[in-house]
Every structure is written in C-alpha cells, then in structure tokens.
C-alpha cells in the first residue's frame, strides 16, 4: 500500500478529515508529520527566506519531518480558491513550487490544484487526475470524493457545536468523550456561567490550533476561566452577515472569515473582548487586522488585543499580555 505524507500544518486544520478519507478510500496509507516541536520549526526556519510568514516556515518544517517516514508521495496541494470569487493568499498559490525549490531530496510531490473559483467541472477534472494516479476506476474516485465531502461536513458541524479542530482531529472518536470534551472546550464548568468572560479568539486556524505555535492561547485562557469563542463556531452565514456592510467584498477566504466573525460578534453577540492573533509577515492579516482594529475602536467599546506571533515569541510574554488583557476585560465588565 503506497503511503502518502501530509504535513500537519496550514490547511491540515481545515481539510485533513476530507483528505484522509479520500486517500484511504483510494487505498493509500496516510502518514502525518509529528506534532510541532522546536526541531520541526527550526528545520523550517532554516530553509525559508527570512521574511516568510511563520505558518509557511512551519510548513517547510513539517515537510522536512515527513522525509524520513518512508512515504511514497508528499501531499502539498496548491490551494488557489475554496469558493467562488475568493482566493487564498499568494503563498498558497505558490506553495508546491516554493517547497520544491527550497528543499531537497523530497519524495514526489502530488500536485493537486484546488480552485473552486472556476467552474466546478474544472475542479472535478483536477480531482479526477489526482485519483487516476492510484486507481483506474472512476467510480472509486467519485465515491472517495463523496465520502470525503461527507466527512468534511461532519467535521465542520462538530466545530460549529463547539469542538475545537484539535478535539476532533487528535482525540478519540467516542461519542461520550466528545460530549465531555465539548463542555471543557467551551470553558464552562469552572465558574458559574454568569461570571464567565466571553472572549473571541480570532485568527488563522493554523496558528490558533497548533498549541506550540499559539503558545496554547486557548489553554491559557481556559485556565483563567474564560469562555472562548472561535471562528469555527460562527456559521458561514453569520460571517457573511458580518461583512455585508463592507464597501468592498473581501477577496481572501480567511480574511472574510476573520473579518466576518469579528463584525458579526461586534453586532450580534455579547462578547467581552477579542484577541486577534496574526503571524509576523502575513500579507492579508496586515490589512484585515488593521481594519478590524479600527472598526472596533470606532464602533463599540470592546477591548481588542492584537497578538503578533513569530518564531521568537516567548511564552512568558504572551502569558503576561493575555493576563493583563483578561484583567482589563474583567475590570471593565465589573465596573459597567
């Protein structure tokens, strides 16, 4: 059974269940890179250009980690667009090329382009070409795709219900455990609900859900008794509602999601604060983050903490800033 390596980075957090299902249905063994460690990050930083954003550096590290796992293929998809009229950032468009240019002795890359900004038919063609590498049976490819889509739906529904991606991706599948963990993950249980602070943590899924990279922001906030709201818990239609009054549609999918969530929460939900997490060197975030910050400042008095992550961020520093922020939010809430 040929083995295909998938880096535990970037869109892993958004699409892994679908990719895994698809390849397994085609009879491949799926091999993940290890969880992020300092070694993994360092090996990525070493091959990357200095000013590359942190998540892409980390991606290189995970590719490097997969090299000696005996895989036959490496899955580095080119994600151009996952919906009509919106794109991912240019780095996703050039990712396989950058990996190939910067890194040596790689197993063959599976070049798959995902571009849903075009006609659906084109996407099916690309998908079919990918499947054809492993089976000549078109029905099998079609079935694998269907199952993958279903798997993705399940995953997304679970997240809307309050699970974090890590709950779904890296813990057991048992239903009971899921319920218990959902409760934990919502941060309830420690403090009486009315005392809970509700803080939204917004940012790219690949930053927030990698505990090493995010310095476990979720965990830290939970320990402080904060109820966390993430972007995954806000439905796509709510996100769209958030951005409906913008003059110009946001043409980045992640940008739309972050901005949409931020504005939706500002308008519709009772939240006490927002932590906006961006990575150093991120192009889209430099503009979206700025807009979110300005709109928050102008419209309502909800405190916003802007955290920039890079490979030199220290855990202690992040903790101090989070604590100070939570204290401030608490103080504000109490004095209101």
């Amino acid at each position: 059974m040929p083995a295909i390596g998938i880096p535990r980075a970037l869109l892993y957090y958004d699409y892994y269940p679908a990719w895994k299902k698809f390849f397994e249905e085609l009879g491949l063994e799926v091999v993940l890179s290890d969880k992020t460690t300092k070694t993994i990050l360092d090996s990525g930083v070493k091959v990357a250009l200095d000013e590359t954003c942190l998540p892409v550096k980390l991606f290189y590290g995970h590719v490097d980690n997969l090299k000696n796992k005996g895989i036959d293929y490496l899955f580095v998809p080119r994600l151009v667009s996952v919906e009509k009229k919106r794109y991912l950032c240019p780095k996703f468009l050039g990712l396989p090329n950058m990996v190939e240019s910067l890194m040596e002795e790689l197993p063959p890359l599976l070049d798959f382009k995902m571009d849903l900004s075009r006609k659906k038919r084109e996407f099916y063609k690309d998908l079919y070409a990918l499947g054809r590498k492993f089976t000549i049976n078109p029905f099998k490819i079609c079935l694998a795709y269907r199952k993958a889509v279903k798997e993705l739906k399940r995953y997304e529904e679970k997240m809307l219900a309050g699970f974090t991606p890590l709950d779904c991706l890296e813990r057991g599948e048992g239903e009971n455990r899921e319920k218990k963990e959902a409760a934990i993950s919502l941060g309830e249980g420690k403090l009486p609900v009315e005392e809970n602070l509700r803080i939204a943590v917004l940012g790219h899924s690949y930053n927030l859900n990698d505990p090493y990279i995010s310095m476990d922001i979720y965990g830290k906030l939970k320990k402080m008794g904060v109820k966390i709201i993430t972007r995954e818990m806000i439905s796509p239609s709510a996100q769209m509602e958030g951005i409906k009054n913008l003059r110009k549609d946001i043409f980045w999918t992640f940008g739309k999601e972050i901005m949409g969530s931020a504005l939706y929460l500002l308008d519709k939900e009772k939240i006490d604060g927002v932590v906006l997490v961006v990575s150093f060197g991120c192009g889209p975030d430099s503009l979206i983050g700025e807009l979110v910050e300005r709109i928050y400042k102008r419209h309502r008095n909800i405190p916003l903490l802007f955290l920039t992550l890079d490979e030199h961020s220290g855990e202690a520093g992040i903790l101090t800033r989070l604590e100070a922020f939570v204290d401030m939010v608490k103080f504000k809430k109490e004095s209101a």
Partner: protein
Amino acid sequence: MKITFPHMGSLAVPLKTIFEELGQEVVVPPSITKKTVTLGVRHSPEFACFPLKVNIGNFIEALENGADTIIMAGGVGPCRFGYYAEVQREILTDLGYNFELIVLEPPQGSLWGLLANIKRLGNHRSWSEIWEVINIAWKQVLALDVLHEMSLKIRPYEKKKGATTVLYERAQKLIVKARTHEDITWSLDKGKELLNSVDKKTLDRPPLKIGIVGEIYMVLEPYANLDIEKTLGEMGVEVDRSIYLGHWIKEHLFPKAFRSREGEEIKKVAQGYLNHFVGGHGLESVGRTILYSRDNFDGVVHILPFTCTPEIVAQSILPEVSKDYKIPLISFSLDEHSGKAGFVTRLEAFLDLLSQKKYNQELKGAV
C-alpha cells in the same frame, strides 16, 4: 472637485492630463520625500507593504494642499493591492480628513464600469471627448516610456556623470507640456534628440547588462527603489527594466484581447519553476529572469517591498532559477528602513562578481 492620486514613477503625468483636460482641478501630491514616507509610515499598519505607506503619505500631503477627491486603482486579489483603497479610506477618515476616495477598477473584469466612473470624474463630458483625452494621455505614457528606455541605454556611455539624467528630465518636461497628438510627436522627437546629444565616451568593453525584475511599484518609483536605475547606470551598467507604466495599464485596465502576448511567453518559460499565477508580479519575476538569461544578460536585480507576498514566492524560487540558468541574481527587499549606503555596497559587490564572470569568459573565449 479637487482631484489627487498617488505617485508611482511618472503616473502623475497622464492622470494630470486627463483630469485637467476634462476641466477638473488637480492637486498633484508633492514629490515623494523623506517627509512623505515618515507621514505614511506613521499612519499605516506596521506590516502593510511599503507602497501602501507611501500612498498614504502622498494622500495626506495632497489633502493638506486642498485636494478632496482621491483616485485609486483596485483589483480583486489575491495580492494586497486590491484592498489598499479600502484600508487607506479608513486610515484617512480616522485622521479626520474630508474627502471622497474613488476606486477605478474593472468590476467583473469589464471596461465599462471603469468608464462609467471616468465619465463622472470627467465632468460628464461626451464620450468622444473623454476618449480623446484618454488617448492623449496614453500617448504621453508611451512617449515617456520610450524616453526612459533610451536613457537607460545611453547612461553607461555618458562622459560626464549625471549628464543623461539632466537631459532626460528636460525631455520629460517637454512631454508633460505636450497635450495634442502633434505636440507629443514633436516633443518625443525633440526628446530623443536631446538624449542623443549626451556626450559619450568609447568603452573598451561593452557595458554589463542587467535586467530589473520585481514588484511594479518598487520598479517604477525611483524614490522607493533608491534610484537603482540611475545608480547602476552611473556605475557603467546598461539597465533593462522589465515593467513600464504603459505595460501595467495594458495589463490592468485594458480588456483581455488587447493585452500583450508577452504574458503567455513568460508563463511558458516559468513552467518548470512556478506554474501558477501568484498575484502581483511574482510569476513575471520568475519568467523574466529566465528570459534575461536567454537574452544573454549578465545579471538580474530583483526588487520587492519587505514582506510582499507574491514576490516572496518568487524570491523563494529565484535562487534555483539563477543556478540552473547560470544567471547571477540579487534580491533587494526594501522599505522605509532601507539605507542607500548598504544598498550601494551590495550592488558594487554584485557588479564585481558579474564583471569577473564576464571577463573570465571572454578570456576563455580568446584562448
């Protein structure tokens, strides 16, 4: 309505022509200086790309001089430029300025939405009048591009350092003033004459030939690129610039059918290295470098704004291209912190390398 717009190389010339000829008042922002950049940087997001910051500086200076309408271009991604205007509007609003920002962009890729906006800006003059004015401006752009290209070819031969620049600037002024077809044709001839009158020396060896690739704003705007063309020219290098304003307009504002076929060629040669559009000029930077190598250039200089997304993709790939095609390459990632001294030192070292390579080859050829 007092119209203003950002600087980018000689962009102000055609824009001023268009709006003035249509009877609008124009406030051209003061030329970019240190003050412009400082202002822009102070009020822009820290990690925004450099052009956005300089734009903000331009706008603030123009608004202070009485402008009330800003014209910007737009786009639909995936690079940041398409969202510049939206962010800039918010920044300037928060600063308390009273203005309208009009974004000229082809919505859904058609020219008509753009023309509708132009009609409004054009005092509702008749289409034929507007069309004629645009034509004149377009002719100015092309004339300026021709003169610029000439200046790059002549500069390495000038006897007196700076002579080309003096005459080139005089030639530019002629075009700026010319606002009829006849005048532009005449001024272009006159400008060519001026440039040809530069006192030249005979070189014992042909000059090094260097191509410039990279992000368009940095390539076109001398203040942002630390005057790289002039600097290299005065070091005796013949510079070729891969992007001109006319080229950019064709690419962004013309309907697809009018675009050059050059784009296809670039795509084709870049295939093995970057086989997908990545926004901005990322793909062009890779393809152009290969074309420069094919055309026997001695080296390539790649200029990008710090953290420019499409160009980081290119920069990650270019070292491999440079190795495979044996064309030396140097990348400069520039922003408000870049100093001229370090820049010149790196350029000199690069030139040393190139002339060694070239000279050794010639020696080998002689044996």
